[in-house]
Structure formats: C-alpha cells, structure tokens
C-alpha cells in the first residue's frame, strides 16, 4: 500500500476506476444513455407511437436524397413513425428494465445470501435448495415460460407488459446474486473481526448489516454492472420474440421485431436499435470490467 493519509478503500477504487480509460468511456456512454432515457419527452421530436403513412420508410439523412426528409433525421419506419423518437423512448424502457429488476435482484439476492451464509445450517439448506431448483433451469427459457404463462393475466397488462418482464427477470436472476453473496459471507464468517464484533456485544443483525454487508458490497457492485445489461438484453430478446413489451410502446427489441421483415428493403429501422443495444451493452461491460479491477484489492 503506497497511499498514506486520507485515502479510503472506496476512494482508492474510485481513483483506480478514473484511471481506466475504457471504463470511463463506458461510464460516459452509460451516463448519456441515462440522460436520454430520463429526458425522452423533451428530446424526442415526435410522438413515438404516432405515424403518418405518407412519410413511411424514409431513409436517414445519409440515405437516398429522393427518399429522405430533413424533418426525420434518422428516417421513419414502415408505419411512418420517427425512428429517432422511437430510439429515444426505447432508452427509457431499457433503463427501467435495466434497473428495476436488478434492484429487486439485489434486494432479494443479498438478503438471502446473507442469511444463508451467516446462519448456515437449516436456513442455508432451505434457501440454497430453493436457489438450486431455480438455477437448474436455463435462464432465458425460464423467463419465456413465466412471461408466456402470465401474459394473458392482469399482470401482463401493466405498463404494456413491462411489469411482467420485471417480475420474470427478477424471479429467475436473484439466485445468482444469492449464491455470490453466500459464498462471500462464508469466507468472511471465519474471519476474526466477526468474532471481535460479537465480543464487542454486537447482535447478529448488527454484525450482518454493519460488518458483513460492507465487505460483500464490492462483488455485488460488479455483479450489478453486469446484471443491468443482462436484463436489458433479455428484454430485447423477449420483445424481438414478440412476448416482451407490447407495441406500440417502443423498445429496441420491439423495433427490431417490427423492422426485421422489411430489413432487406429498409435496413435502418432494424440496424439503429441494434447499434444502440450493442453500444450500451459494450459500455456496461467496460464499466463492469473497470469496476471489477478497481474494487479488487489484489490489483
């Protein structure tokens, strides 16, 4: 350890992260993406759901001069809806899909992992067998099963099907977080500072919250950085398959689904959401890798 003075573990990690160019580039893209998603109503020039068939299948501004319009810089889709506006509003869906299920996953996964790892014995046995059962199914397949089963019910109607996607992703993915946290807690439980805290008169709850939890936070943060794009990708896949977000609400997956039949004649309405997905995925991956390196004490 070369640092002397007012440097904490978190500050150390932050400075390591700041020195990582790929991670910072990722962070900038993620921040931009979040800004676009939040400011969608202000940024989007048109209503993403309303189309004018007179202007359908216009090329973006770099396309054929005969088939483009300055009013629609990124062109329109086959129903004459503005692609730019749809891309912007889709960011909103993706942001929600990225963060809402992941917050549920973190809450449940961390709680279960802490309890199972710390108390051990029957609590561990019970919780981890439940985890194993869910873990045994292929993740995407399980999500598809849940979504198709519940799509017709009231929950499938909430927010154009977005709530159902939250629920299904959370149901399937908390198990990975629970396993990660449990493993960390098992390793920590044997350490002397936990005994020292108990010898200090701290209760189990206090030990878990004040001593164990901060120590498992670093791997959890990294897992979140990878979990967010994972959830977004799942949503895109579901929407592409036609069982995700219900049109006309735009999402990148929905856009690809609607556009891919005409992809030969007008590829742009498909390519642009695909590029958006790729760029955001890549940004999160860079950021996640950077966080992992920054938070790893061995680095």
């Amino acid at each position: 350890m070369t640092g002397v003075g007012q440097r904490s573990l978190w500050r150390d990690a932050a400075s390591r992260l700041a020195a990582n160019r790929a991670a910072m580039a990722g962070l900038v893209v993620v921040a931009l993406f979040a800004f676009v998603a939040i400011a969608a109503p202000i940024l989007a020039p048109y209503d993403p759901a309303a189309g004018d068939t007179r202007n359908h299948e216009l090329d973006p501004f770099w396309g054929d001069p005969a088939y483009r319009s300055a009013a629609f810089p990124l062109g329109t889709d086959q129903l004459g809806r503005d692609v730019l506006s749809r891309l912007i509003w889709s960011a909103r869906v993706s942001l929600l899909i990225g963060f809402v299920p992941v917050s549920i996953i973190v809450t449940i996964g961390v709680a279960v992992g802490l309890v199972a790892g710390y108390y051990g014995r029957w609590a561990d046995l019970l919780l981890m067998r439940a985890v194993d059962v869910i873990y045994a199914f292929p993740e995407l397949l399980f999500v598809i099963v849940i979504v198709t089963a519940a799509r017709g019910t009231w929950i499938g109607e909430l927010g154009s099907g977005i709530v159902l996607i939250f629920v299904s992703i959370a149901t399937v993915s908390w198990v990975g977080m629970a396993r990660l946290v449990r493993g960390q807690v098992l390793a920590l439980r044997g350490l002397e500072f936990i005994d020292a805290a108990r010898a200090m008169g701290a209760s189990d709850r206090r030990i878990l919250v004040r001593h164990v939890l901060p120590n498992v936070l670093a791997p959890v943060i990294v897992a979140v950085a990878f979990g967010v794009p994972g959830a977004m990708l799942t949503e895109s896949a579901l929407s592409f398959l036609g069982i995700g977000i219900k049109p006309p609400t735009p999402s990148w997956g929905v856009m690809i689904n609607e556009g891919f039949t005409l992809a030969i004649q007008s590829p742009w309405p498909v390519l642009m959401p695909a590029v958006c997905i790729s760029v955001v995925m890549l940004a999160f991956t860079f950021l996640g890798d950077g966080l992992r390196e920054a938070l790893d004490p061995r680095a």
Partner: protein, 355 residues
C-alpha cells in the same frame, strides 16, 4: 495479596467444561476448569497450543460457536451473575461493556472496510448510548491514550493504513472503550515482533492499572506473563495443572509440566553451553484422554500411580499456602517434594544419553 482479601470475586469459574462434538468424537477442550479473579487482579493462563486456553476465554464470554462447541457444565459467576445462565440479550449487554476481549491477530481482527473511529465508536454507541459527537470525542481520547500519533487525523483511517503494532493499540483502545471490569487478552502479542510485543504489553499493563481493570492474559510464552500478571495458571490438556503467584511459580514450580516449560525458555544467567530442553512428545488426544495424569506420557518422573488415577489440583507442601498443583509427585508424601528441577540430574542424564 489481592486474591485473598475479603473483596468479593469479580470472576468465579467453577467446573467449566467445554466440548466440541465432532465427527471423530467428543473433544474435551476444557475439562473442569475452576479459578477466581478479584477486581483489578491480573492473571496469566499459560500452556502450549491446543491445551484449552483460548476455549476457556471464549467460554467466559459465551463465544463458543455452536455447533460444534458447547459448554456442557460449570458456572461462570461474573460480577455476581452466572454468565452461562443469561439469555442472549443479557450476554450481549456484558460483552464489550463489562468484559472485553483482545484477539490474537490485529491484522484480521479489525474490519477492513470500516474506519478505526467507526469501529471504536460502535461499542460506545451500543453500550453507553453515546451520540456520534460524544463517541468521537471519547474515541479520540482513547486513541491518544493508547499512543496513536496524530490520533485526530488517524481516527478516520482504515485498518490497512496502520502497522500491526498500531492496530493492536487500536484493539486495546476498543477493549477499554466502555471501561470494562475484565479484559481477556488472547495471545495479544503473538502476531507482533518482539520489540513491539514489549511495548504493547507495557501499555496493556499500564492502562489496566490506571483503569483498575482486571485482565486475563493468555499466552503460550511464560516469558510474556513473567512481568505482567500477579498470578499464573498453567493449563494442560484442558485442565489447570498448576496455580501460583507469578514469583512463586518461577521460583518454586511444583509440576513437572511447568518444569518442562521453564526449561525450554532460554535464560540469561545460564552458561552459554547449557542446552534448551524441550518437552518430548505431544499433548494427549483430547478425544481419548488417557487414564490417570494427562501429562504422565511425557513425564520423566512418572510412577505407576500416575497412569492409574488422576491427581487432583491440591495445595502442595514446601510452597506458599495458595500454591496448588495437579501432581502425585509433588503433593503431600510424593516423591518429588524435595526435588529442585534446576539441579535435578535425572533429566540432564536423559538428555545427555539421547544426544
């Protein structure tokens, strides 16, 4: 002498028995340990690894992990209450407050992600219900008291920014934070280098005296307890085999195991050619304890009676009145009553023949 004064005992342990239930069988880690400690008194518990010293200390605070460990018998009267009969809340109220513990390895006994001040103030907020500001003020006082330079700046540092010796000072500050009546120090200097060891022990001794805190110092090193404690209990195979005042124990030990321990420390007043004489063999298996004296298998002075019946911990002749030992040979009428281990030639001859 403090322990014989009419002051009521701070700690009175009777017949303490702690076992670990493992796949291989029951481990008798602590087997019928009894001792007393007056307020402000200092006691050393000495013995080699695995003889039950640490388990004894953990048992006093009810910190034995269950399963596999369990306190199966005995009473631990602390300040007039039996710790073993308390419910969990009552025990927690005592831990860190009236009875504090200093652990062996200061590298691992501090939480790496919390600042020093947060770890020290935790006990203050928990037990003394101090608010943040008061707790920080007290934390600063404590850190200055244990000799952390520029404590005001350092209190918000993390453990990895401190050296081993400094961390053990922090641990002492934590232990002292609530003015406990008793501190259990489990090998507090084993993980430190020798020069730092002396400083830490001095500090512990000085502060305990200032605060009037009783402490139990657990160590495998007789040299460590020599200047530190008023009394010494020697443990072997989960039981106490000798109890005496510190001076008396060094001048007139009455148990061949203690002799062995003393022979294995280098002495300044001996000729340079004198060899250290380690105790041959290993401590007995705590799952299958031998019949008779548990040290008999390694004892050069053993006779038939030693492997037939276990001696009791009894007051021994030709010693101070409160000197007790668990040995047939040194008890009334035994064959070792008049033997001085320093001049005795039996062992020398044995060692000479072996080499």
């Amino acid at each position: 002498m403090i322990h014989s004064s009419p002051v009521p005992d701070l700690l009175d342990v009777k017949g303490l028995e702690t076992r670990f239930f493992t796949r291989d069988g029951e481990v008798h880690a602590v087997d019928g340990v009894s001792f007393r400690l007056a307020a402000g008194e200092t006691l050393g518990i000495v013995g080699e690894s695995g003889c039950g010293k640490s388990v004894t200390a953990l048992s006093l605070m009810r910190l034995i992990p269950y399963p596999p460990g369990k306190i199966t018998a005995g009473t631990v009267m602390f300040d007039g209450q039996d710790v073993l009969k308390m419910d969990d809340d009552e025990v927690r109220a005592i831990r860190g407050n009236n009875m504090a513990m200093i652990f062996q390895d200061p590298m691992t006994s501090l939480n790496p992600v919390l600042t020093i001040s947060r770890q020290i103030t935790e006990a203050l907020e928990l037990h003394l219900k101090m608010n943040r500001t008061d707790a920080r003020k007290r934390c600063l006082e404590l850190l200055e008291m244990v000799g952390i330079p520029s404590a005001k700046v350092r209190m918000d540092d993390y453990p990895h920014q401190f050296s081993g010796g400094m961390r053990q000072r922090v641990m002492i500050a934590m232990a002292l934070s609530c003015n406990p009546k008793l501190i259990l120090a489990d090998e507090p200097t084993t993980a430190l280098d020798v020069t730092i060891q002396a400083q830490i022990l001095e500090l512990l001794k000085k502060l305990a005296k200032e605060f009037g805190t009783a402490f139990i110092l657990i160590t495998h090193d007789l040299g460590v307890v020599a200047g530190m404690t008023q009394r010494i209990h020697v443990m072997y195979a989960g039981r106490i085999v000798e109890k005496a005042d510190t001076g008396e124990l060094f001048a007139n030990p009455k148990m061949p195991y203690t002799w062995g321990l003393l022979r294995s420390i280098p002495r300044l007043d001996e000729s340079r050619r004198a060899k250290l004489r380690p105790i041959e063999g290993l401590p007995p298996d705590l799952i299958n304890l031998p019949v008779g004296c548990c040290f008999a298998a390694r004892c050069q002075y053993k006779r038939d009676v030693c492997t037939e019946k276990e001696p009791e911990l009894k007051v021994v002749p030709k010693a101070k009145p409160d000197h007790e030992a668990r040995c047939w040979g040194t008890q009334e009428g035994g064959w070792l009553v008049d033997v001085d281990y320093r001049t005795d030639t039996t062992v020398m001859a044995a060692v000479g023949a072996a080499s």
